[in-house]
Every structure is written in C-alpha cells, then in structure tokens.
C-alpha cells in the first residue's frame, strides 16, 4: 500500500514537472514550400512524431508555409523542412544560419547543393550521385541488368518493417508511398527523434545532435546518420525492369552496411 502511495505521489509530481516543462517550451516544426502530393506524408509524419512526443509529455507544434522564401520568419522554430529548388533550400539555410535552426532538404537531389556544407543544412532526400552510385553498384554485380534505377523508397518494399510503414501510409492516405513522401515522413520522424532524446535542446544544440549523436531508424534496416556534407547516409532500393530487385549498398560491390559507398563525400573547397 505504501509503495502504491509513493508511486502515485511520484507519478503526480512527475506529471506536474512535465506540465511545467511543456508550457515553457513547445517545439515548432515548420514545413516550407509546396505541399502538392505531400499532404499525406506531412500528416503521417507529424502524427507519428506527435504520438512519440505525447508519451513523453513533450509538446510539438506544426506549421506550414508554401513560400520557401519565408524561412526568415521562422527563426523561433526548432527545425524547418524545406521542399524547394537548390537555390531556395540554400537561401533558407542561410536565412536561418544565425539562430542555427536546422534546415532539412526533402525535395532536391542536387549534388552541388551537398558540397555547400552549411552547418545547419541537412539532406534527407538522396543526392543524384547517391542514386547513380547505387545503380553503378548494381550494374557491377548484375552486368546484364536492364532499365536499372535507384530509389529512396518503394511501396512494395517489405523488409525491415518497410511493410508496416507502407501499410500505415496506404491506410492513412489511400496512396502508395513515393520517394518524395518517404523523405517528408523521414524528416518529421528524424527531427522528433532528436527532440525527444534532447527535449531541452536549443535549435543550435539540435544541429550538434544531428551531426554527432543521431541514429535515425529510416525503416530501411540500417540506421541513418549524417555525414560531413550534411547528407543523410541511407540504404537505397534498386528497381530493375520495373520491379523491386534489391538494396544498395549492393552486396558484392560494397559491404551491406557501407553507406559511405553511396553519395557525396566532399565539401567544395
């Protein structure tokens, strides 16, 4: 009985402390740019993020703004997810570099943008080079392969709980999860993975956390981290002759966990 009382008291006190923390510091996450075809991904990503935060009494606040040029208005955000052209993404990163708000690129695979290596700029969408490297690895091990392309995601992918994510997305949106949708979902989940692990973190500290500590479950088997360029290390999927054929890093061409065999490694001088 006494144990029960103690537990009760403790839970009550913890609850009060949690409430005080919540009102003091909501975490704002902003989506910047066109949401065309992406509302489903924003919804699923944000809802899954909120569920995780709710269990820990951490409050999240989601906003959207269709104009990528408005980045400067969100200096109070904890993270800004940008869907835009390479110039728009770079401009957003510049506009938020002083408060040091992390900017997550979900829309462009531009290689050059990766060589900019701005401290607060992170790339969730795979670079064009990352995709090309994956195709090259596949061709090396499958010399007769035709019509090969690499993707960030595939609606028929089932391994590593990809089946579960595909099912959730289908159920919530009635659509198949595209590469772009996956990147948006991943951005929301990645930001909140950092926030729930570091609920007291300033945006600047989140940038450090992304670079040094984050281990994000991309639901592609190997956890993701960021490399020097700000590019997210991730596994890719190989589609050959219109069908899901395998994963990259491609066994035989690279070790299956060697994510650095894919993508942009160097910053511009």
């Amino acid at each position: 009985m006494r144990v029960g009382m103690n537990a009760c008291l403790r839970a009550g006190l913890l609850g009060l402390i949690a409430l005080a923390m919540v009102s003091a510091q909501p975490h704002k996450i902003v989506f910047l740019g066109s949401t065309e075809g992406l509302q489903g991904a924003i919804q699923v990503g944000a809802e899954e993020a909120r569920l995780q935060a709710d269990f820990l009494n951490i409050q999240l606040q989601f906003e959207q703004d269709r104009d990528p040029a408005h980045a400067g208005n969100y200096a109070d955000a904890h993270a800004v997810i940008v869907n835009g052209t390479p110039d728009e993404v770079l401009e957003a990163a510049r506009a938020l570099s002083d408060p040091g708000v992390p900017v997550l690129n979900v829309g462009t695979g531009d290689n050059e943008l990766r060589t900019e290596c701005r401290a607060n700029l992170f790339h969730i969408a795979p670079s064009d080079k990352m995709l090309a490297d994956a195709v090259a690895q596949w061709r090396k091990t499958h010399p007769d392969a035709k019509d090969v392309r690499a993707q960030a995601w595939h609606p028929e992918f089932v391994k590593f709980a990809a089946r579960e994510l595909n099912n959730r997305y289908r159920k919530a949106t009635g659509m198949e999860m595209s590469d772009a949708a996956w990147a948006v979902w991943a951005a929301y989940r990645l930001v909140t993975t950092a926030i729930v692990n570091e609920p007291e973190a300033t945006p600047k500290r989140l940038v450090e956390y992304f670079r040094d500590e984050l281990e994000f479950d991309s639901q592609k088997g190997v956890f993701s981290t960021f490399r020097e360029t700000g590019e997210m290390r991730q596994a890719l999927l190989i589609v050959a002759e219109g069908k899901l054929a395998g994963e990259a890093p491609v066994r035989g061409a690279a070790a299956s966990d060697d994510l650095d065999s894919l993508g942009v490694q160097e910053c511009k001088p």
Partner: protein, 316 residues
C-alpha cells in the same frame, strides 16, 4: 466397477499436473507451421500446420497449451502440447505479433498494425482491455511479480510500462532504435531491452523506469541487430543478435560483452532448457535451430526447422 473407474478418471484428469514433454516448439514464419522437436534426441516429432504468419509463441501457465500468434489471421492458435493437436483459433485483434502469458492465464499481446496492446482471456476469447501504445508494438513481457507488463514499440523507440490489473500506462521509457524484447532479472529489479536497429542493449530499473546502463554492440559485432534477450541460468544476459549471426553474452551489472558464440544466420528466438545447461536459438535465414552448450559457450549442433524460424519455446 468400470463406470466408477471412468468417473474417477474424469474427476482426476483435470487435476493431473501437466508432465513436461521436453519438446521444443518453433514457429516457422514462412511455412505457416510449428516444428515440434524432441529437445533430448533432437528428432522432429511433428510439423503442425498452424495458420498464416506464425511468429510469437508461448505456453499457458501450466504448459498444457501452446499459443501461437497468427499475424495474417488476426488470431491466436491453441495447440495441445501433449497430443500436438491444433485445438482452435481465438480472434486476437489486428495483426498479433508477439505476446506474453501472465501467471493468471491472460494473454498480453501486441497488435502491430493498430498500435495496441490487448489483454485476451483465452478461456472465453474475450478481449479484456486494449491499451494504446506506440507504433509497431512488438515484444511483450510480464515482470516476475506479475504487477507490470512491458510492451516495446519499435517505431516509437519505447518501452511502455503497463500496470496490472489497472491496464494503465505507468511510464514510457525512451530507448534506442527499434526495441524488440524485454527480459527481467529474476528479482524483478531490472529490465533489459534489445534495440535492433540501434544495435544496443539497454538496462533500466523497473521501479523508477530509469535507464541505468546501455551497451552498443556494433564495434564488437558486425551487423549486430539484437532481438532475443534472456536472463541466463548463469546470471548473465544472453542476446540473439540477428544478422550479427552470434549469440552475445553480457555482464548483467555492467552490460560489458563477455562472450560471443557464432550460430546461424539471423538469430532471433531463444529458449533455455529447464536444467539451464542448453540454449536453443532460431536461425531465420538458415532454417535451423542452434543448440548451444551453456557451460562451454559453444554451438554443438544445428537442428533443421521449417522456413524462416522465428520463436522457440521449450516444455521442460
């Protein structure tokens, strides 16, 4: 006279304690079967066609019944552990994956695609409670005192601590990426969680839900993906490391890695023999069950199973 004997038999039968059969029961996810193997001779006793996508497996408190979660049939199958007959299937909510049987006989199970932990009374098939947990709930364990049930949610990276019998969430413990299972020290003081994608084992204090130690195994074990975790008969923590293709043995206090035992590919399910001398682990990509001698920490044999063996339990 005969009538009296029959009557006596009817009266006595339910009172007879279940005698251990020393049989291993292995769920084969790909084949939709359960392999029944004699744990002493390592011979296949029977292959039971159980239903679609069998994964989680466990005994009733008296071991007379084997329960099998059938993910694609939204049901729990009941098998008589002596006659090996498939008795019936109980509706168990959407996509049951793993479960634990409470000493009171209730089945606590995770419904993977609906984010729920459900409490099922197998006697009447009634769902007694549903608790909303995180995304992709997976491993379910009951504390030794039966007062708490812990459910991991893989995509929310948490252990949810549920009070019994209130069925309210008492705490949520944020751990590494993709937590799969929880094991407890026999005194119920500590819980040990395997985090598959994080490649780590996290130790927490049950009473306070505070993390007290964590150990990343990636440096020592290539491609490590911890799944099965057990408090071993030697007081160490035994971990099936998935594509690490080894069983890892950790110090229960510090979580330091003390030993690795090479087994087959993608090792997940684990069962110790009653005498604590032998460990059996499933190798999902080799369609086999490794037999490990606990004292020498060596694999002594691989027993063939069905396709993609997932879980294993032993009636010992």
């Amino acid at each position: 006279m005969i009538r009296t004997l029959l009557l006596a038999a009817v009266l006595v039968a339910p009172l007879l304690a279940h005698e251990p059969t020393h049989r291993l029961f292995v769920t084969n996810e790909e084949d939709n079967t359960v392999s029944v193997i004699d744990s002493r001779t390592h011979e296949l006793v029977k292959t039971i066609n159980v239903g679609e996508r069998p994964r989680g497996i466990g005994f009733s408190p008296d071991h007379s019944t084997v329960y099998v979660a059938l993910g694609d049939e939204n049901a729990i199958a009941e098998i008589d552990s002596t006659s090996l007959e498939l008795l019936r299937k109980i509706p168990a909510g959407s996509d049951p994956e793993a479960f634990a049987v409470h000493p009171n006989g209730h089945i606590y199970l995770s419904n993977e695609d609906s984010g729920l932990a459900s409490v099922l009374d197998p006697k009447n098939g009634e769902i007694l409670a549903e608790v909303k947990v995180g995304i992709e709930p997976e491993g379910v364990s009951v504390t030794p005192d039966g007062k708490r049930v812990m459910v991991t949610s893989e995509s929310t990276s948490m252990v949810h601590v549920i009070r019994v019998p209130e069925h309210t969430i008492e705490a949520n413990i944020l751990v590494g990426a993709r937590p799969r299972e929880v094991a407890f020290s026999p005194d119920g003081k500590y819980g040990y969680v395997s985090c598959e994608v994080g490649g780590e084992v996290v130790k927490f204090e049950v009473e306070t839900a505070k993390i007290v130690a964590r150990k990343k195994l990636r440096r020592e074990i290539k491609l490590v993906k911890p799944k099965g975790v057990r408090w071993g008969p030697d007081g160490r923590i035994w971990v099936a490391t998935g594509r690490g293709d080894v069983v890892a043995v950790l110090n229960a206090d510090t979580l330091e890695l003390e030993n690795t035992i090479p087994v087959g590919r993608r090792t997940w399910g684990m069962a110790f023999s009653g005498d604590g001398k032998t460990l059996f682990v499933t190798n999902g990509l080799d369609n086999s069950l490794s037999v490990i001698d606990v004292a020498s920490a060596k694999e002594t044999q691989k027993i063939p199973t069905g396709g993609m063996p997932w879980g294993v339990i032993l009636d010992d």
